[in-house]
Amino acid sequence: MINSDIIRGHLESVILKLIIEKDMYGYEISNLITERTKKRFNIKEATLYSVVGRLQKKELIDSYIGEKSHGGKRRYYKITSLGRAYYNQKLLEWIELKKVLDALLEDRK
């Protein structure tokens, strides 16, 4: 299980990425994160909601009430154009960071 402090700074990008793929509601996002990481990382609802709230405040995502395929109403989130731009920016940052860390931590002989 990954230390949640390390991943915290990247949660915004992760959630944006998932919402870009398709509109989702809260629990769906957390489920998908668990599933994709094969249970290695499990986001706490409290953390997820605070990040989502922050993204919404920054107008990177938008929300609407939608019908689920069978039954209940859900609050779905969808990406805004600002969010898409922000995500692309973050993605570049991450690629850069990955390169830097690889260069620093990789074994040298």
Partner: protein, 145 residues
């Protein structure tokens, strides 16, 4: 679903008033969605609620910097409080000293005895100034950490 509302209210009971209702409302909505999903998956309502509550985490997970922010705000409040105290003591001691000077000059202009009680009274604003400066010093230390 009442249980979820109560749980959320309890979890967020100590957060600053500003935006509190909004947070409680949105978190309740999201958790209710989760409970509904879990019930759909075949859990009983009780199980679904328990699972949701357990998996939620703590208020610290919600506010990563919550504790720090709160501390900062409290410190700011104390300093403001001290500033008010200092203002009050300055005004208060000025009035008292003015009265003493008046009584002194009016009744016994030959001896200037007012200086002695005036020095005593000046220690009132001085002690508060000391406190205020001390508090500020502490704040600087904390920033350095």
């Amino acid at each position: 679903m009442k249980k979820i509302v109560n749980f959320v209210r309890h979890t967020f009971k100590d957060i600053p008033k500003q935006g509190k209702e909004e947070i409680i409302q949105s978190v309740t909505e999201l958790l209710n969605e989760k409970v509904e999903d879990l019930i759909e998956k075949g859990l009983s309502e009780q199980e679904a609620i328990d699972k949701t509550v357990v998996e939620f985490g703590t208020v610290e997970d919600y506010f990563v910097n919550f504790k720090k922010q709160e501390k900062k705000m409290r410190r700011k409040k104390t300093i403001n409080h001290y500033k008010n105290d200092l203002f009050f003591s300055a005004v208060g001691s000025t009035i008292i000293i003015a009265i003493i000077v008046f009584v002194n000059l009016y009744y016994v202009p030959s001896t200037l005895w007012f200086v002695i009680p005036a020095v005593g009274i000046l220690f009132w604003p001085l002690s508060i100034l000391y406190n205020l400066l001390n508090k500020r010093e502490n704040r600087k230390d904390e920033k350095d950490e």
